[in-house]
């Protein structure tokens, strides 16, 4: 596709790349660098002022305090649970939308899945708070069966986060399933594969990068969330909450704490990139 580099095209490339890279480096990488740097600073415990003396106390505290380990593990398991729930819901829904429903239905179904994305994060989280509350709909709906709603807590956090990020998982999976050529499925059937065999050997490998791409969103968004936790989490504490509450009190500690999600996500991205998921992001 692109011609061999000539001095002219190299100049054009530089002109194209310079503004976005400059912006990203200055505004984003620069900020991340400041954050990382400030993790090695200290805080005056009386005035909450940042003291710029180099030390590794924050990381030491992070690694040796059991509470931080518990919270980090809890956050990780909630993010993993949300991702699994979303994948389990998105696969059949996207499969139905892309391959089973009639052609005329695909577009409306896709729109139906997309629309809530625009309705606002807070609006939806708050709607769940109301639903899970004492006189809420969930309780009212479960009461005839003698059941109780989950109330506010870890379960509610998983439900609401899975709810919020579901479209981010359905969209890439739908796109991948829609692109899957019918010929491949026919070929699989012609070679004697039954439905399950075709699903396992043809469909699943084809949607795997899409699921991984979707999981980048569900995993990362859950890992950093602190508002949903505040709204429906009851007493549950996640990494996001601890970081948010430390920002004004002890910025260096908050910075050290945010290294945890950053390391987790970068590892995840690196792993997912090998599977080619970032190309379908």
């Amino acid at each position: 596709m692109p011609a061999a580099p000539t001095p002219g095209s190299r100049l054009r490339l530089t002109a194209l790349l310079a503004p976005p890279l400059l912006w990203l480096t200055l505004a984003y990488l620069g900020s991340l660098a400041v954050l990382l740097l400030s993790a090695f600073w200290a805080t005056d415990s009386f005035t909450s002022d940042v003291v710029r003396t180099w030390n590794t106390d924050n990381f030491h505290e992070l690694l040796t305090t059991p509470v931080y380990r518990t919270i980090a593990l809890r956050t990780l398991s909630i993010a993993a649970a949300v991702t699994v729930v979303d994948a389990l819901l998105a696969l059949p829904m996207a499969f139905f939308m892309a391959r089973v429903a009639g052609r005329g239905w695909r577009r409306p179904l896709l729109v139906a899945v997309l629309t809530p994305l625009w309705a606002g994060y807070l609006v939806k989280a708050y709607a769940w708070r109301v639903m899970l509350g004492e006189n809420g709909v969930v309780g009212a709906a479960l009461a005839p069966f003698g059941l109780h709603g989950p109330g506010y807590g870890t379960t509610a956090v998983v439900i609401v986060l899975a709810y919020l990020w579901l479209p981010y998982m359905i969209l890439p999976v739908y796109a991948a399933l829609e692109r899957l050529p019918e010929r491949m499925l026919e070929a699989s059937a012609d070679l004697g594969a039954g439905t399950w065999r075709t699903l396992r050997s043809v469909v699943l490998p084809a949607v795997r990068p899409a699921v991984l791409a979707g999981s980048v969103f569900t995993f990362s968004l859950s890992l950093g969330d602190y508002l949903t936790v505040q709204i429906v989490g009851g007493k549950t504490q996640l990494l996001g909450n601890v970081i948010a509450s430390q920002v004004t009190l002890d910025l260096p500690m908050a910075a050290a704490l945010s290294a945890v999600p950053v390391v987790l996500i970068v590892c995840y991205l690196a792993a997912v990139r090998r599977a080619g998921a970032l190309d379908s992001l």
């Binding site: 596709m1 692109p2 580099p5 095209s9 054009r12 490339l13 194209l16 790349l17 503004p19 890279l21 912006w23 505004a27 990488l29 620069g30 900020s31 991340l32 400041v34 954050l35 059949p92 139905f96 089973v100 577009r107 896709l110 139906a112 899945v113 997309l114 629309t115 809530p116 625009w118 309705a119 606002g120 807070l122 609006v123 939806k124 709607a127 006189n135 709909v137 009212a140 709810y163 579901l166 981010y168 739908y174 439905t195 043809v202 990362s220 968004l221 890992l223 950093g224 602190y226 508002l227 996001g240 970081i243 948010a244 920002v247 910025l251 910075a255 945010s258 999600p261 991205l269 992001l281």
Partner: protein, 270 residues
């Protein structure tokens, strides 16, 4: 692949149930905005238009909406320029570090909002504050634009992959300068992708709260910040409900436009 009738019905039921769960909370917010009760109880005790009238006269909500619009438009404009340039570079050129550039662009939305938020906060505090640029609309726009770039980049990139490079080559062969080729060939083919990308970027900025919390000064209130601040105030709750209901109703418009515009960009990619 043959799918049995039972499997079809089962898949249909799962999808229907999934969509029902998606819409129940939204319908409840709508219902709640005309509920006579101040606090939400189930079932509602009666219906009233009072809260809607109160909300329409709420100065705080109107100001916040205006701030959100300003921030969203400015961030989208920056993202459109930077995202398109980057998409052009990555999809029309081969160069060393090409994959690193795409990776870098994804990073602001791949990292949790709280990390981006406090990183920007720390940077603004240590770098901008000393030179006299305080927190405000400007810092919000910088934060939002940073994660909006990738949305435009993705949309425009998807389109560029579909536009055959031979079109641009033909244009060059016919004697057009690069700028003319862009103006008469490439740009018209990209227009709807730019619009869809811009729309998504605007929506992302409009809904963003975490990065906004850490980059806005005390006087700068976007709509999500206003909603969050007023959620906790019981006497404001009905007005917040109406604003929430309005947001849900308004959400139909951009989806409709995006769907009309293009099938490959707005629908398939975030």
């Amino acid at each position: 692949m043959r799918i049995s009738r039972t499997a079809r019905v089962a898949l249909c039921c799962v999808t229907a149930a999934g969509l029902a769960i998606v819409y129940v909370p939204l319908l409840l917010v709508l219902l709640n905005s005309v509920n006579t009760d101040r606090s939400f109880g189930w079932p509602p005790s009666g219906f009233t238009g009072r809260w809607w009238r109160a909300a329409l006269h709420s100065e705080g909500a109107r100001q916040a909406l205006l701030t959100s619009l300003k921030a969203g438009l400015a961030a989208t404009a920056i993202a459109l320029v930077l995202g398109t340039l980057a998409a052009y570079a990555v999809h029309r050129h081969r160069f060393f570090g090409r994959r690193t550039v795409s990776f870098l662009l994804v990073l602001p939305i791949a990292l949790p909002g709280i990390v981006s938020g406090i990183a920007l906060n720390a940077a603004f505090r240590t770098v901008l504050d000393p030179i006299g640029i305080g927190f405000g609309l400007f810092t919000v726009v910088v934060g939002h634009a940073t994660f909006c770039v990738v949305i435009v980049f993705n949309n425009v990139g998807a389109r560029l992959r579909r536009i055959a490079p031979s079109l641009a080559e033909a244009s060059a062969d016919l004697g057009a300068r690069p700028w003319q080729t862009f103006r008469y060939v490439t740009f018209p083919a990209m227009r709807s992708a730019l619009f869809a990308g811009g729309l998504l970027a605007f929506a992302l900025s409009f809904d963003e709260i975490v990065v906004t919390t850490f980059t806005a000064g005390p006087g700068t209130r976007t709509l999500p910040i206003w909603i969050y601040e007023n959620l906790a105030r019981p006497h404001q709750a009905p007005v917040v409900n109406v604003v929430a209901a309005l947001l849900i109703l308004a959400s139909v418009i951009p989806v409709y436009i995006a769907q009309r515009l293009s099938s490959d960009t707005a629908g398939g990619r975030l």
